[in-house]
């Protein structure tokens, strides 16, 4: 072999030191870090507080177990999505008692900003008694969380602008029941007390929801 000059040496050194290629799924795992940190923080809060959080401990434990089984940064299957949704709703439960009323116009402004979608104005959507409309982080996506007054109690509507479910499913714990439904442009989750007829809100929102492409 011939001796290589300095330039060739530097090129060779450069190519060798930059040769390691990250695993194909590493970027995706790293993008999930905020959601996992949020879930871990939620678990810690639930474990350290009494009162409201005590009811959520089984959910936190379930979520933790699922995360453990998924070995840290694995993508979430449906069961984990359900657990994440339940954990999120318990975390936001403090807003259930709010007496605020958010107008359709105000709600649409927040939806536009967070997920680039809105609800058509109609008597049905104008009649919704919405008292929370905020963005949130669900399924690795900036999503929208509405809390509205249902027939039997607060109803959470979660609008995820990503296809995170390939079929409609229902899920429940000992307090809430809900549905996860793939819709055009994303996924719609509706969750309420176990007696709540969530289907009517699912249909109402789905019929009036418009994505701004």
């Amino acid at each position: 072999m011939n001796k290589i000059d300095d330039t060739q040496f530097d090129q060779l050194l450069n190519s060798i030191m930059k040769a390691p290629v990250p695993p194909a799924d590493l970027q995706q795992k790293l993008l999930m870090v905020p959601a996992l940190a949020e879930a871990a923080d939620l678990q810690a809060t639930m474990a350290s507080n009494d009162s409201v959080w005590r009811r959520a401990l089984p959910v936190a434990a379930c979520l933790g177990l699922l995360l453990l089984m998924a070995h840290r940064f694995q993508p979430m299957p449906t069961a984990e999505l359900e657990a994440e949704i339940l954990a999120h709703v318990y975390a936001e439960e403090r807003f259930f008692a709010s007496s605020d009323h958010i107008t359709l116009q105000d709600m649409n402004a927040r939806m536009e900003k967070a997920i680039h979608a809105h609800l058509d104005a109609s008597p049905a959507t104008e009649a919704l008694d919405v008292h929370l409309a905020k963005d949130c982080w669900l399924a690795q996506t900036v999503s929208m969380h509405l809390i509205l007054t249902g027939d039997t109690g607060p109803v959470s509507v979660l609008m995820i602008p990503a296809d995170v479910a390939d079929h409609a499913t229902t899920f429940a714990d000992d307090r809430f029941s809900g549905t996860i439904t793939p819709i055009e442009g994303g996924t719609l989750v509706v969750l309420g007390n176990r007696q709540e007829p969530v289907g009517k809100y699912l249909n109402l929102i789905n019929d009036h929801m418009q994505w701004d492409y």
Binding site: F9, L13, S15, I16, K18, P20, P22, V33, W137
Partner: protein, 182 residues
């Protein structure tokens, strides 16, 4: 009420913006961070874990990143500290590097002589002492100057430049010695 909503929106916007900045950071730097972790640990599965720990730590400490311009050096520093915190004290220094794990990818475009040189240099870098290998990795992968490396490793500039010079000399000597034998 209006004030509360405004405050809520501000917080929410800042959370969304924070996520966006974090995601940009991942996209821009995760490959270099992983590469640096490989040369730091000389073990790919460990490098992957360390990369994840680094970004987890970065996310939690995101508010301490004052400027996007310093993001790269910030991440490299987090990685080195996480490695020290998590692995250096708990893991004995690897005497036998898993050469299969750290094998150089086959470069089909190289002539056999060049491939041999590449393999030789690769092994030589792996066997460099950390005091030489780490500054070299920061310079080659991160593109940092001697002064920046000094700040990251808490060394003065002269020490860094000396180590970089010696690291290259060691590698050159090894390559040249091998070439002379041929």
């Amino acid at each position: 009420m209006a004030t509360q909503e405004t405050a809520d929106n501000t917080v929410l916007e800042s959370n969304a913006a924070r996520r966006q900045r974090y995601e940009a950071l991942v996209r821009d730097y995760y490959q270099d961070i992983y590469r640096y972790a490989c040369w730091l640990t000389r073990h790919k599965p460990l490098a992957e874990d360390l990369t994840q720990e680094t970004f987890m730590r970065a996310w939690r400490a995101f508010s301490s990143l004052k400027s996007q311009d310093s993001a790269k050096a910030w991440l490299f520093t987090i990685l080195r500290r996480e490695n020290a915190r998590l692995y250096e004290k708990q893991r004995p220094e690897l005497d036998d590097i898993d050469e299969h794990e750290m094998a150089l990818p086959d470069a089909g475009h190289l002539e056999p002589d060049q491939q041999m040189e590449a393999n030789l240099l690769h092994k030589a870098i792996l066997s460099l002492e950390p005091e030489y290998r780490i500054p070299l990795a920061l310079q080659v992968i991160g593109g940092f100057s001697g002064e920046e490396i000094g700040e990251m490793l808490e060394l003065n500039n002269n020490t860094v430049m000396t180590r970089l010079f010696r690291a290259r000399n060691k590698l050159r000597a090894l390559l040249d010695g091998n070439n002379e034998q041929d």
